[in-house]
């Protein structure tokens, strides 16, 4: 599958947007320690902004940046949102309420607990009726989501916004499902091949490990956040290298050739 990348978005520790993050991924600027909160989602009215959780703000920050970068109207774009953990704080709050035995959970928390909450807020924010798909594929959510988003773009012959995001889960579940930092990235994929970079995606059977990076802390980030497993690919895009990146895509792997 061949696909062009028209725009990118990024938010993670020391990676405050694609422009700043690109310089870090190229190795021109050192990776800072700061974990900054993502910007508030400008597309949402104040009441919806209050209701949505930090993980939605994280996803929407990357999504919005990619659309601006691609110079495309978010309302017109079909989208694919991939996250392993979904809204961990909301699920934790509901589990805590169940343990407390009060017999009640918050209605707002319940509707925010659906895995497609961020996708829902995105379409609500833009008044969009374009399809938005929510995926959950554990540690391989980025590679699976990229493959799925590229397939939609190619088959439907229209650009697709792909967003991958994950943040730590608080409470007891977070002690067994360990995610260390909040991370999101977004790519606007164009089947016409227009864009900064062309990707050729090839799925192969058989397990293979993710490629690694030269900066150890980025490898750590990738290891402890499913969305950050995008980093080897994002670094290759940042460098503009005609290279090849391999990502685990259970049960197989995804090879991405860049040109």
């Amino acid at each position: 599958m061949k696909i062009g990348v028209r725009g990118l978005g990024l938010w993670g520790p020391g990676l405050a947007g694609w422009k700043q993050g690109q310089a870090v991924l190229r190795g021109n600027v050192p990776l800072a320690d700061a974990e900054l909160p993502p910007p508030a989602p400008a597309c949402l009215p104040p009441n919806e902004r209050r209701r949505c959780g930090p993980v939605t703000r994280l996803a929407l920050a990357a999504a919005a940046e990619a659309c601006v970068h691609a110079d495309m109207d978010p309302a017109e774009l079909a989208s694919v949102f991939a996250t392993s953990n979904g809204d961990g704080p909301v699920v934790n709050a509901i589990l805590s309420a169940i343990v407390a035995g009060a017999g009640e959970v918050s209605p707002t928390q319940f509707h925010n607990s659906v895995h497609n909450a961020a996708a829902g807020y995105w379409t609500i924010g833009h008044g969009s009726i374009a399809p938005a798909t929510a995926l959950g594929c554990y540690d391989w959510s980025f590679a699976q989501g990229l493959m799925r988003a590229a397939a939609e773009a190619v088959i439907e012959k229209r650009p697709v916004l792909f967003v991958a995001y994950d943040q730590p889960i608080p409470g007891p579940i977070g002690t067994v499902r360990i995610t260390r930092s909040a991370f999101a990235c977004a790519l606007v994929l164009d089947p016409d091949g227009a864009g900064h970079m062309q990707l050729d995606l090839q799925y192969g059977a058989g397990r293979m490990d993710d490629d690694t990076l030269e900066i150890d802390r980025l490898n750590d980030m990738a290891h402890f956040n499913p969305a950050a497993r995008s980093l080897p690919l994002l670094a290759a895009i940042a460098r503009g290298d005609a290279t090849q990146v391999r990502l685990t895509c259970r049960p197989g792997h995804l090879t991405v050739r860049l040109s």
């Binding site: 509707h111 009726i129 798909t133 699976q144 799925r148 002690t175």
Partner: protein
């Protein structure tokens, strides 16, 4: 779109274990709903599947043990489904068959149980809680692939109550791009405290068994279910199986409401767009559809919105009904369970009228059935909508 075929299928829900039981329940208008007795909660009525507690997964896959994967496993063992997949795998090769499933909550019940059993002093969860193989959304396709010995790509789509309908769209992408030759598509959702309490907190659970499309409808009955279909290219092999489920997948439409997180757009704009897009992809006119299986959850707003959207696209002549009175709302599994109902409608010409209806909402314009009708139909539409404002319409056709 180039049609695909469903060459095998299976479903389990409160309406019955397997296609024959589901067909018999539809024919005899026997509901599977009972007063809720799950996990000490008395939340209206539920569509609870019998025998889940006693069902055991194969020893080698015991780490996947949770209510959701048990339901999935029960479905895989019905209707000759696993055998049909084995046949397909020997033709295409196991690595050429993918698994694309929808679920809204996967094995969250296991996380609830683990949290309830946590050590009050240390805060530690029980050592046998395996989050990635139970609670996690990706546990379901991993389990299904392991149980069926498949090696193709896996995907979990979680678009709330439209999840397993949306899985058909994703499965089509996998096949059309050449990533797979066939896909096991479907899903599972199982009873848990979170959904029972959550829907109750939103005031959406009916005190009695759900009454979709009734003038006095009061909400949903939550159900559980699982189902799978084997989807492949038409004519790639002689794939008719003894199980008797055979249908063509002709079209789909997916859209968003862009309106509200938990309440549908009352004008049904997104829902109508999904139905229209499904017709266009199938190359069909509204009058070609012989029956519409509604999402028909039994809430005031969903059923009214859906009627508005159906009437806008189809006018007032196409027979339609909700089958949630049999199964309850099986949430992310409703799409696959109702796909199997669509296949029964296509084969038997049995149009199931809504259960528990005293009088159809007088404001409705679409032709809602409240009793079973015998009528041969060539094309069926199946609707699913969900929280987050997500919509999906599928069109299935009879065997040529």
């Amino acid at each position: 779109m180039t049609p695909l075929v469903i060459s095998a299928g299976t479903a389990i829900s409160a309406a019955g274990a397997g296609i024959d039981a589901l067909r018999a329940a539809l024919q005899s208008r026997r509901s599977g709903l009972t007063p809720c007795d799950f996990a000490g909660l008395a939340t209206g009525f539920v569509g609870r599947v019998e025998g889940v507690e006693a069902h055991a997964l194969p020893d080698a896959l015991a780490r996947f043990d949770c209510r959701n994967n048990r339901l999935a496993d029960m479905a895989l063992r019905l209707d000759g489904f696993a055998g049909a997949v084995t046949q397909a795998a020997s033709f295409y090769g196991p690595a050429r068959i993918g698994v694309v499933v929808g679920t809204s909550t996967s094995g969250i019940l296991s996380a609830e149980d683990a949290c309830l059993a946590h050590d009050r002093e240390t805060g530690a969860l029980p050592a046998d809680f395996d989050q990635s193989h139970t609670q996690d959304l990706f546990s379901l396709p991993r389990y299904v692939a392991a149980a069926l010995d498949l090696g193709g790509p896996l995907l979990t789509v979680s678009n709330a109550c439209a999840s397993s309908s949306r899985a058909f769209v994703d499965a089509r992408y996998w096949i059309e791009t050449g990533l797979c030759d066939a896909v096991v598509v479907g899903g599972a959702d199982s009873l848990c405290r979170m959904t029972l309490l959550g829907f109750a907190s939103l005031g959406l659970v009916a005190p009695t068994a759900t009454r979709p499309c009734d003038a006095d409808r009061q909400g949903i009955s939550i159900g559980e279910g699982a189902g799978f279909a084997l989807l492949e290219r038409e004519g790639a092999r002689d794939a008719r199986t003894a199980a008797g489920i055979f249908a063509r997948f002709l079209g789909y439409g997916a859209s968003s409401d862009g309106h509200h997180m938990s309440s549908p757009d009352p004008e049904g704009r997104g829902a109508a767009v999904a139905m229209q897009a499904a017709l266009e992809r199938a190359g069909l006119a509204p009058e070609d559809i012989g029956y519409i299986n509604l999402h028909g959850t039994g809430t005031l707003v969903n059923d009214a919105m859906e009627d508005t959207a159906v009437a806008a696209v189809f006018g007032t002549a196409v027979p339609c009904s909700s089958t949630k009175g049999w199964t309850g709302h099986t949430l992310g599994a409703s799409g696959i369970v109702e796909t199997m109902i669509a296949a029964i409608v296509l084969r038997d010409g049995l149009l199931p009228g809504c259960l528990n209806v005293t009088s159809i909402d007088p404001a409705f314009r679409s032709r809602v059935l409240d009793r079973n009708v015998k009528k041969s139909v060539r094309h069926v539409m199946s609707n699913a909508f969900g929280f987050g404002g997500t919509n999906c319409s599928l069109i299935f056709g009879a065997a040529p």
